[in-house]
Amino acid sequence: MFDFSAIEFGWPFFLRGVIATALFCIIATVVGLILGTIVALGRVSKRRLMRGLSLAFVEPFRNTPFLVQAFLIYFGLAQMGLSLSATLAGVIILSLFSAAMFAEGIRGGILSVPKGQLEAARAVGIPYLTAMRRIVFPQTISYMIPVITNLTIGLIKESAALSVISVPELTMAGQIVVGETFRPIEAYVSIAILYWLLTAGVVRAFLAIQRYLSHRQAAAVKALSASGLSLATPQLK
């Protein structure tokens, strides 16, 4: 019943699909981290306007289906005369979505650091952004790694929806193979397994990063205590 010749036919498509999906998600994660940090800073800003603007950016992405966002942006831009290739549109759509999701995660990270840290830094005259960069953000790392892991997995899964605007990624590869072989079950089960391997790989990679960071930190703490100093700030776990 399970026809392996369909998989034999499809694997070059699947391979290209996996690479494309991975590339899209890497780009979207990087953009998400950068743009998301800016939006998160807006979300915790003292200025009402900044808070309002960043909230207005985040909420539509959070409260509508990604599928509808893809349709709206892709066909919306086309109707306004801006015809992007499906691939470029897909990267932009996924990156914007990613920025909104990461913004909320990073905001959570910023809020997880006690307020007194920032206040103390400001009180001794450290500029706001420097204080954020040197004092607040480093302390969010242990909180952020699981959050980033989940967000990246979310991106991999949501990116499947880009196939509906014909972005050449893994799900699209599956649809192409179905069109050629008429074996939907074989093709879709194969890509499901590939997606599963991708997300499992991401989890493994981030666990390794987490282990590396905690090792390095333990070493730093040890070196510091050996030199007779002690950590006055709360330590990372």
Binding site: N63, P65, G76, A161
Partner: protein, 219 residues
Amino acid sequence: MPRGDDPLTNLPELLEGAKVTVAASFFAILLGTMIGTAAGVAEKSRLRPIRVLVSVYVSFFPGTPLFVQILVIYFLLPAIGLDIPRFTTGVLALALNSGAYISQMISGAITAIPDGQLQAARALAMPRRKIWRRIIVPQAFRLILPPLTVEFSSLVKNSAFLSVIGVVELTRTGQQIISVSFQPTQTWVVVAMMYFVMCFVIGLMARRMERATSAQAFR
């Protein structure tokens, strides 16, 4: 059938589609909660094969796209001789997906129940089954009510994928209107706004519930 060019003249159709979206999400959360509760309890089973089965389930479903799951289930059911309507297929796929997340909430909530209660129940010679049914599950359920509401709003969004297997819910209705009116931007803005209102309201409910539950949490 869609009428004019203006998306607002198609509002009745869109509202009809929104109803299907809500119905699908509602049935999916009901079924998903049942599946999730069963899986969450089975995760603590004494039988190893059951535990293995559950761990495959909770690893595979959250690790693959819902879109692909819907496609697999849509083609798999007829292949094994089950000819059921698309709406039912869609609800089943959504429920299986949600169930994996809900089972994680359940097993988290089970761990949150103080050990003393179980010891007390056992000291009173309550049978194991009764402990689960009368003590653990009801309390766990109360704990997961806020995250379950959040899950419901995810379902409203995720149900958009049912459009690809031809369930005429909100997104599919939008596509049908566009195929007649050729006004994608306006129509998608209206569709997005309808999703936004639904999810935003559900989100508010979740936050209110969260406050209510944390106020009466275990002391």
